[in-house]
Structures are given as C-alpha cells and as structure tokens.
Symmetry: D2
Subunit: 164 residues, 4 copies
Amino acid sequence: MKKKIRIIVTGGTFDKEYNEIDGELFFKDSHIKHMLDLGRSRLDLNIRTLMMIDSCDMDDEDRYIIVKNCEKAAEEKIIITHGTDTMVETAKILANSIKDKTIILTGAMIPYTFGSSDGLFNMGSAIAFVQTLPAGIYIAMNGKYFKWDKVRKNKIIGEFVEID
Amino acid sequence: MKKKIRIIVTGGTFDKEYNEIDGELFFKDSHIKHMLDLGRSRLDLNIRTLMMIDSCDMDDEDRYIIVKNCEKAAEEKIIITHGTDTMVETAKILANSIKDKTIILTGAMIPYTFGSSDGLFNMGSAIAFVQTLPAGIYIAMNGKYFKWDKVRKNKIIGEFVEID
Amino acid sequence: MKKKIRIIVTGGTFDKEYNEIDGELFFKDSHIKHMLDLGRSRLDLNIRTLMMIDSCDMDDEDRYIIVKNCEKAAEEKIIITHGTDTMVETAKILANSIKDKTIILTGAMIPYTFGSSDGLFNMGSAIAFVQTLPAGIYIAMNGKYFKWDKVRKNKIIGEFVEID
Amino acid sequence: MKKKIRIIVTGGTFDKEYNEIDGELFFKDSHIKHMLDLGRSRLDLNIRTLMMIDSCDMDDEDRYIIVKNCEKAAEEKIIITHGTDTMVETAKILANSIKDKTIILTGAMIPYTFGSSDGLFNMGSAIAFVQTLPAGIYIAMNGKYFKWDKVRKNKIIGEFVEID
C-alpha cells in the first residue's frame, strides 16, 4: 500500500462530455482528478494524460505510446483509463511487453459527467485491485477483474465476460 | 473471483438521509443496493441489513450480532458497511473471533444521498479488496486498506491513519 | 394561482437518455413527474405525454396533435416541453389557433438525466410564467421569456434571442 | 424583462453544507452563482451576499440590513434567498417599508449541495415571478407564490399554505 501508483488517462466514455450546442459527445479535460477528490483518495498518485480519444479511434501508434509510458514509469502499479470497446486489445499488447508490473485497465459505461455513471465505482475498484493483485495485465469493470487473456467484451449486453 | 460475497449493512454516514422538516439526519432504507446498481456490479452478492444505526450508538449487543452473522455466513468474503467513528472497535472484536474469512469494513464521510459522497468510490474499493486480500479483518476507506490492528481514526482530520 | 395547469410532454433534449450499449441518446419515459417531485411542486398539475420525439423530427401531423390537445384542454394554462430546435415553429402554429390561453413552451439544453441539466431551472420558471403571464404563446428558456413572434434560436450559441 | 434584477443572499437551507468531520450543517459560500450557471441564466443579474445565517438566528438588526439594502437598490425587482422558518416575518417587515418594488423571497427545503434539492426549481420560479408580478412582497416556494400577508409556514408538513 506504500508504493506510488501511476494513473494513465487515455479518454474513453469515462471522460466524455455532452455538447449542448450540437448534442454530440466530445472530450475536453479528464475528470479523474475530480473523481479521486470526490472519493477523498488518500493515496500517493501520479496522474498523466496521454491522449483523450474514443478507444475505437485508437491505433497502433497510440498503443505504442501507452506501452512506452508504462515501461518507463517508475511506478510498479499502473491504472489505465480506457474506452471499453478496444480495452482487451490494448491489454494484449501491454502483456506482450510488460511482465513485472501490475496494470489495471478500467473505464465506464456512462460518462462521469452524466450523474448516473459507474465511473467512480470502477475507479474505486481499480485503485484497490492495483494495490493487491500480483504483476500482470488486468481489466477491472463493474466489480470484477479479469486477466487480459481471459476476457472479452460482449457488445450486445455491454458487459465484460470471462472466457477460457 | 468466483465465490459469493456477503454485504452486511449496519448504517453509518453511508446511509444517512436529510429530514427536510427538522433539518436533522436520520436513517430510512439502505442505499447499498442502489449503489451497486449504479456501479453496474456484475458480482454475485448477498446483501443483508442487520441494523441502521450511527456507529456512536453501537453497543456490545449490536457488535455481538455482527460477529455472529459473520461467523454463520456461508460466504468467506464479507463487506460490512459501518459508521467510521467506531469502525476500528468493531474490527477488533471481529478479529478476536474470526480467523478464516476476509472481512472488509467500509463506510463514508458524506451520506450517499448528498451527491458529493465518497460512498460509491469506497464501495468499489471494498468490493475489490474483499476479492483479493487474504483472510483477515481490514478497514478500507478512501482508496487505502489497513489491517484492523494497524489503524486508528484521526477525528480531527476525519481520516484513517496507519499506526505501528 | 388557483387554476389547474396542464403540462404537455413532447420529448426534446429534456427527456433524452444515454444508451450505454451504443453511446447514442434515446427516449424512454418522461422525467417531468420526477422533476416536479424534486421541486416539491405543490400545484395542481395535469401531465400528459403526447409524443417522445426530437423536435427536428416533428412534422405537421405532430404539431396538429399538439394544437388540438391545447384547444381541447380544460385548463387555460398550459406548459409544453419541447425540443429547442423547432420550438419557435410550434409556437407560431399554436399562435394561429389559440388566443385565450397562456401557453409556455420550454425545454432544456442538457438532458435532465445528465446531472448538469438546466431542465429543473427551466421547469421552475415555466411553472411561474404560466401562472402570471396574460393569454398568449411564449417561449421560456434560461430565465427569460419571449412572445412567440419576438424570438429565434441562435443555433451557433445555443441560445434564444429577442428579435424585433 | 429588460430591467436588471438584484439577488440578495441571506443564507438559509439553500446554502447549507455538510461538515464531514462533525456531521453538522454549516455555511461557507453561497451557491446562487453556481445555480444560475447551471440554469444557464441569460438575465442581467446583480448578486449580493448580505449574510449567511439560519433564518432562526435572524434578528431585528439583520432584517434592518435587508430592508435598507432593498430600499437602496437601484433595481425594482429583487429576489431574496432566505431560510424558510422566518421568511414570512421578514416579508412582513419589508412590506411595511417598501411599496414600489417587486420582492420575491425564496428558499429551499433541502440544501442545494445535497443533490436532491428543490433549490434550482425554486430559483427558476423566483426569477420568473420577479419579472412578471406587480410591485409587492411575495413568498415563492415549490411552484406557488403568495402575497406576504396571505401565507404561513406549516412546520409540521414543511410547506407554505395560504391563509385568508
């Protein structure tokens, strides 16, 4: 519990906002700092925003940046906020390169600014999982955690499910 | 992650509400179910309300009920929602009796119904800690977890701090 | 203040919700009743949902239904919740047919379910305007009211402005 | 609708906050500005905080300050945010001195920061009533308005009711 944790922000539904002029969703600033304040987090955290994009728009270049940042990070415990649609893909690429750190990918089904978001709950879980799980790449959503190679997103029901 | 988790509700700031007639805080129903719905929790949970009281009003009899319920529970993973003022005291009594279960006591500094509550974040953490920590009695608040005998509440700053 | 007020629901941003599976906005049930409960409204109100549509999708047939319902209503004071994009158009058609009732069209820039909505404020204003303005067709948004023929929506800034 | 409106803040439940250390309610800063932003108010408003107190603690001196500020105000339309318990008393004293302005006293049953507040709805109504009612002293709560000498607060049900 003593070790510093890094939080890497990449965007995703988590950080989307509603544009009241055109009715579209868009990215502005990350709400992670605000969420941790609301949770009255007392941990030593190091937050870094790498990009603010929809995970459907994430390409190899973007994932390379994420992997490099995880490798270079002094912290052994890393949380990545990420869109849910390609979360498993990013987890897989991280698993190829990084063996000695605990990395938790998390996100939200509902934007944090929409009041009814699962974001704060998921962030609370991710903060806990990153402190207690052994080195490895995991996805943590809606109370559950999954090893990177044991999970897929069921897009019909909008839920992560375990696979063999 | 497969095992069922029990959640025992005892009240505390978590579940307090504002009485608009007299301006006092009071207890009605627990919001734990609503919080888990908001977090879109996909876990197999068994929620049981034992009492709805301020932890300052909790006496030996109440703690006896909590211990007995933890002992009898079929689940080996238990979360107890509890007022923060005497959370450490209840943890100590649980530690005397229960050795083979992972029990997480958690709560909130701000009532869940007040919008700005840390409750959803704390519940997310508790749900994660209970799945990953070894058997023992723990307090989980604001992103941190503490073994029952390594923590006290600093009432001046309203924060749990580690002790030796 | 004694006379009954009718509220006619037609949809609009007011009542949109976020679909967490596909990230699109959609209509389910109206939130008007919930908003009036939150405002602890003590008025004698008669709420009727006519349609749940985006005002860009509103056609002559829909507007005919709205006009007929306003004509037939026993109440002389009517609030219509409506999307902002074609609110002025509907107001104009109402003005052609109805001379002896006070009708207030109102809406929201942000869906009520998104937490940061102007909806509750606008509904509070509409409820007040409908009780105090003389017979006529008005648009009430963001604290202001406009006669139906003295207003247009500036879609660049997302704001209703007075015209001569 | 063209004339400037003054808003005078005196405290009341409207602006109470929850102290997470001792569980008591207290006053810090007014939320009126934030509420008007949320309502996307487009009116020309002049907000002035005179005091931040519970209306049960309001004495003759405090009411004298409120009356003097209303008299001196350049605006002919004034909203006063006020605790509900002695709102009628302040309205009566205002009515003795001020004849040519429209003054609306309003408040909330639930603090604005508690999420479930009626404050935004009441403020929306007050903003509308102040623009449309003739000169006089009024209380506006929960969708209704009352002349200062035709109302009392029923403290049992927490509601303002009309008297003859």
